[in-house]
Amino acid sequence: MTMDFLTGLIRIILIFSVIMGLVAYMTLMERRFLGFFQLRLGPNRVGPGGLLQPIADGIKLFFKEDMTVSHANRFWFLLAPAIALVSVLACFAVVPASASIVVADMPVAVLYLLAFSSTGTYGILLAGWSSNNKYSLLGGLRAAAQMISYEIPLALSIVGVLIIAGSMSLVEIVKAQEGLWFIVKQPLGFVLFLICISAETNRTPFDLLECENELVAGYQTEYSSMKFGLFYMAEYAHILLASCLVSLFFLGGWNGPLLPAPLWLLIKVFFVFALFIWVRATFPRIRYDQLMSFSWKVLLPLAFLNLMATAVLTVYLA
């Protein structure tokens, strides 16, 4: 019993530190890639090729003054960043790096994922509300509205995958893709999932909740120091999660020749994240009403169509 507990704990700590390391270096990758997209070099002065930049950023954030504005609701103001980060990190419990490297291989992993990633909305909404600042509140409200609207087509676009794989466990889903990646069987589902997950993680074409020219910094306006850092980490952890999920659901997860399984997943995650950066470097932010009507009038019907077509075909072929 204690042995199980200890090995479990070690496993959690290991995976946690790998995730946090990846999150730190994703910020660097994003900044450098955005630089390249804009004919700049990006941060390259700290350490060889800028490799120590995330550490410098971390130290800087840590030594910033940690302020709590006097009119804020203190309890929720402090709790909100923690909720945002924990809800994302909890999701990684079911994300497998290979058939054996996983904290918990649950039979209901997909449900668990959807449930916990929705909890992240609470962090943002509470941050916006407890700051007691109209920009923060508007940012938080937008975040809540956006995440809820995009969660529906997001969930529906995964159901197609679940039907084909016949399981909700992520390990089983990846095993079902050993011959053929699901992107071939679910091209529409893949595109829908990609769009919805980038709205869910508040990436640039959909980053209305912190849109600078309208809302200052959205829900994080009043946050400083490590409290802001937690939001930042949560955001990048969420993007890492999104990249992992795209790879696991549609790109065959860790399946691949020659190289070890976790490395294959890492390569795929790298390319999916590069795609996210590419999209961010290309598209301007869309208007708020466009965002909403796009979700409800375009994505949702398409997701239903995809779901029905998949279901009918699966039954017909079986």
Binding site: F36, F37, Q38, L39, R40, L41, W278, V279, A281, T282
Partner: protein, 141 residues
């Protein structure tokens, strides 16, 4: 609509693989234009003494009053330069002193990294202004 989106993506992808235009400033510097007006410098005769005849026209024309010229009677009885002082704290690098000089004794150099830890190092004396000429390694008539 999606075709336009893909076109945009193709364009940004092309820029991703182009060379960045960044000049990494302290490590690499852009060449200074030919008529750049940097730190002023005094030009010297072949024997190393300043060409300046201490007429004081530069002092008169200087809009920021940063030049002070003091004259003395030289060993051959001719008016000669005693001390030339140019205060870079005040200088606006307008180049009027160069325009005014009848003997082309002062010129604008190309140095532009003039930050110092105090005011004193920025007050340039004759020697420093001559030394700037040597550093620039160019004699602009």
């Amino acid at each position: 609509m999606s075709k336009a989106l893909l076109k945009g993506l193709a364009l940004t992808l092309k820029t991703f693989f182009r060379r960045p235009v960044t000049v990494q400033y302290p490590d690499e510097k852009r060449p200074v234009p030919e008529r750049f007006r940097g730190r002023p410098m005094l030009l010297a005769r072949e024997d190393g003494t300043p060409r300046c005849v201490a007429c004081g026209l530069c002092e008169k024309i200087c809009p920021s009053l940063c030049i002070t010229v003091s004259a003395e009677t030289g060993p051959d009885g001719v008016r000669a330069l005693a001390r030339y002082s140019l205060d870079l704290n005040r200088c606006s690098f307008c180049g009027l002193c160069v325009e005014a000089c009848p003997v082309e004794a002062i010129a604008m150099g190309s140095e532009y990294e003039l930050a110092a830890f105090g005011r004193e190092p920025l007050v340039c004396t004759t020697e420093r202004l001559l030394a700037a000429t040597a550093r620039n390694g160019e004699e602009r008539p």
